[in-house]
């Protein structure tokens, strides 16, 4: 398996001493991590370890939860996204997100993909919009399946198609980072394989961060892996290293299936 030189990729996101609180609950403690560009980074760990919470910090989705509070710095391209001058709306256009359960809007396939470009004003006219939609659907590796039914409701597709539609929808806003929160947990193995293939292809252009429950998936798709446990970032490094020689006892126990 050809292993790209991830150390050479520049740092896209860099988090310093990040703390997250949900009310009184200290969900993320002192997390410091550098996430590279043009690579797939996987967050793994047992349920409730904070990996999804941390992911949602990266595009400030935690803002939509009233009780959540984030401390520390997260820099994307050197800019602190928690700076007061940052508009989360502009940030989220740059940092796209795909959710655990496919959540297409109750609109047509076309409208689902066109939604982002429309609100961000990326297309000057209908022809441009058509072009963006087609390119995004191709990018989401679903164009061939839906090109004849762009007007059909997005909710009528199969689970795997819905998730790829959601990925296409996310890349339509031309993001630089793609966050994926357990994107395959609601899918069957065939659909999972299709989505994993897609992630592999997306790596060339985006910094992809994926949260996953499945260690096999992390090993298959990612170049770098971070292991979270009870809100702590226990270990972070090249995926091969983590799985072959875990440096921490907790990581080893998790990988060998004794905690989870």
């Amino acid at each position: 398996m050809p292993e790209p030189d991830v150390e050479a990729g520049e740092v896209k996101i860099s988090a310093r001493d990040v703390q997250v609180f949900y009310g009184d609950n200290h969900a993320i403690k002192d997390v410091t991590v550098d996430i590279p560009d043009k690579a797939v980074t996987a967050f793994i760990g047992p349920s409730g370890c904070g990996k999804s919470t941390f992911l949602r910090c990266l595009n400030r989705m935690n803002d939509t939860i009233d009780s959540a509070r984030v401390e520390g710095d997260i820099l994307i391209d050197g800019e602190n996204i928690y700076d007061r001058g940052i508009d989360p709306v502009q940030l989220r256009a740059k940092v796209g997100m795909v959710f655990q359960k496919p959540n297409p809007f109750p609109k047509s396939v076309y409208e689902n993909v066109a939604y982002g470009p429309r609100i961000h004003g990326l297309a000057a006219n209908k022809a441009e919009l058509d072009e963006i939609v087609e390119k995004s659907l191709r990018g989401g590796a679903i164009w061939d399946e839906v090109k004849d039914r762009l007007d059909a409701p997005g909710t009528g597709l199969s689970g795997g198609q819905q998730q790829r539609l959601c990925i296409a929808r996310a890349i339509a806003t031309e993001p630089e980072v793609l966050l994926m929160d357990e994107p395959c947990s609601a899918l069957d193995p065939i659909a999972t394989a299709q989505v994993e293939d897609l992630i592999e292809r997306l790596r060339g252009n985006y910094s992809v961060v994926i949260v996953t429950h499945s260690m096999q998936q992390a090993a298959r798709v990612s170049q770098r892996t971070a292991f979270f446990h009870l809100g702590d970032l226990v270990e972070y490094g090249a995926t091969d290293d983590i799985f072959v020689n875990p440096g921490d006892e907790r990581t080893e126990k998790y990988i060998s299936g004794r905690i989870g």
Binding site: M1, D83, D87, V89, Q90, E174, D197, L202, G204
Partner: protein, 445 residues
């Protein structure tokens, strides 16, 4: 993975490197749109709350005067000689009035106040008082020769003057009140003879004639409402609970059950006036139940309230987890036993809360009562006894308020607002009881 890497790489999307810290024009515009939208929401809420505030202010400002009345305190010592002279005269009441005027003048002089005074102006201020004085002394001859303290209610226009509703400027001389009379009122007020006090007769009294707004009270209508609520409670609680238990616990899925369900949800939205038509046609015209009776009003309101009570009772029954039923059934209880011994007691607080809220709704309902004749001059007095309370013609609070609101004399408007305060106090207390019940017995499964 190796297969995927063979695929042609995607076109790199165009990336205009822009700083997140410098919002684009478009972002600025979108933020402005966001602020406008949010402001619309705030405005909508504010308008709603403002309406509530205006409504509350209107009720309190206009209704508060109904709770005070203006009275004249006067002590009269009627000698035996005066009594006999008065009884010997042709115009007996006028003689008593003269005595009253004498007593008032004496009191004014004692306090060094002075005002023009004659029987006509006294009548305009106090109304026809001679008759009641005479009645008192004829009934209590032993009080003759000793000082007796009288509290005489002033006319509604004097009442208005004391409350600031009628001012010297706005007053045009009429046979009800002349501007000169106000000097007399001022003098009496200066001497402390005329003053305001809490209007107990409004709380305890019955409706009065169209020309006497001052004497109107809501007490009889409160009693009418009370008897109606007794009927509603006694019928709607057992019937509502029984119907809910059937639908929630026993009913099979068939056309009959569906029919009942459809009927209940539609009845909940039928206009209340239609229930009034039902009451008129069925209870009064067909079954010949008495008109204007709280019993009929109660029956109509029961039918109207039942859907509300059934809907809330079913929600309470649904909230009891199935594990409770399973546990009882597993111990060998029959289905009926499981429901009546376990599910129903657990759902009871919720059922009671729903019932109180349903009753509060029924208490404020007016339209159907108009059609079954609980309006007009029906609340003339208290019923003679418990059974008569259900069958004697009476009004109810909201219908009494409507009666006052539709009378020509604006003096009744104040009574209508005052009646609304009384009605709202009842509603508020019922809702507070419901909230407390819910808080105390709230159970989370």
């Amino acid at each position: 993975m190796s297969a995927a890497s063979v695929d042609a790489p995607l076109d790199p999307p165009p990336r205009p490197k822009s700083s997140l810290l410098a919002p684009s024009d478009r972002t600025r515009r979108r933020r402005a749109a966001e602020r406008r939208f949010r402001a619309c929401g705030v405005a909508a809420i504010s308008v709603g709350v403002l309406f509530l505030a205006v409504l509350a202010a209107a009720i309190i400002r206009s209704g508060a005067p109904a709770f005070t009345r203006t009275v004249v305190d006067v002590t009269i010592t009627l000698s035996r000689e005066q009594f006999e002279r008065a009884e010997g005269q042709l115009l007996k009441t006028a003689a008593y009035e003269a005595v009253l005027i004498g007593a008032l003048q004496e009191m004014l002089e004692e306090r060094e106040e002075r005002a023009p005074f004659d029987a006509a102006s006294l009548r305009r201020i106090l109304g026809k008082t001679g008759g009641s004085l005479r009645e008192f002394f004829r009934a209590n001859e032993d009080r003759i020769g000793r000082p007796v303290e009288f509290t005489l209610p002033a006319s509604s226009r004097v009442d208005g003057y004391m409350n600031g509703r009628v001012s010297r400027d706005s007053l045009t001389d009429s046979r009800f009140l002349k501007a000169a009379d106000l000097d007399l009122v001022d003098a009496l007020a200066g001497a402390g003879i005329i003053h305001s006090e809490f209007n107990w007769p409004f709380i305890t009294g019955a409706d009065s004639g169209v020309d006497n707004p001052g004497g109107a009270g809501i007490g009889a209508a409160v009693v009418g409402s009370f008897f109606m609520m007794l009927v509603v409670l006694a019928l709607s609680l057992p019937i509502g609970v029984a119907a809910s238990i059937y639908l929630e616990e026993f009913a099979p899925r068939n056309w009959f059950t569906d029919l009942i369900e459809v009927n209940i949800s539609n009845l909940a939205a039928v206009p209340s006036i239609v229930f009034g038509i039902l009451g008129l046609a069925v209870f009064i015209q067909f079954f010949h139940l008495p008109q204007s009776a709280p019993l009929v009003g109660g029956l109509v309101l029961t039918l109207m309230t039942l859907p509300t009570i059934i809907i809330s009772t079913r929600a309470s029954l649904k909230a009891v987890p199935p594990s409770i039923r399973d546990a009882a059934l597993a111990l060998g209880a029959s289905k009926t036993q499981a429901v009546f011994h376990h599910v129903l007691p657990l759902a009871m607080p919720g059922i009671l809360t729903g019932t109180i809220i349903g009753l509060a709704q029924a208490l404020g309902e007016t339209a159907p009562l108009l059609l079954i004749g609980m309006v007009g001059f029906v609340a003339r007095g208290y019923p003679d006894g418990f059974v008569a309370g259900f069958t004697d013609p009476n009004s109810a609070m909201p219908a009494q308020i409507y009666t006052w609101a539709s009378r020509a004399d604006p003096g009744f408007y104040e009574k209508a607002w005052g009646g609304i305060i009384v009605l709202l106090i009842f509603l508020l207390s019922m809702n507070i009881v419901a909230i407390v019940l819910r808080r105390v017995f709230e159970r989370r499964w």
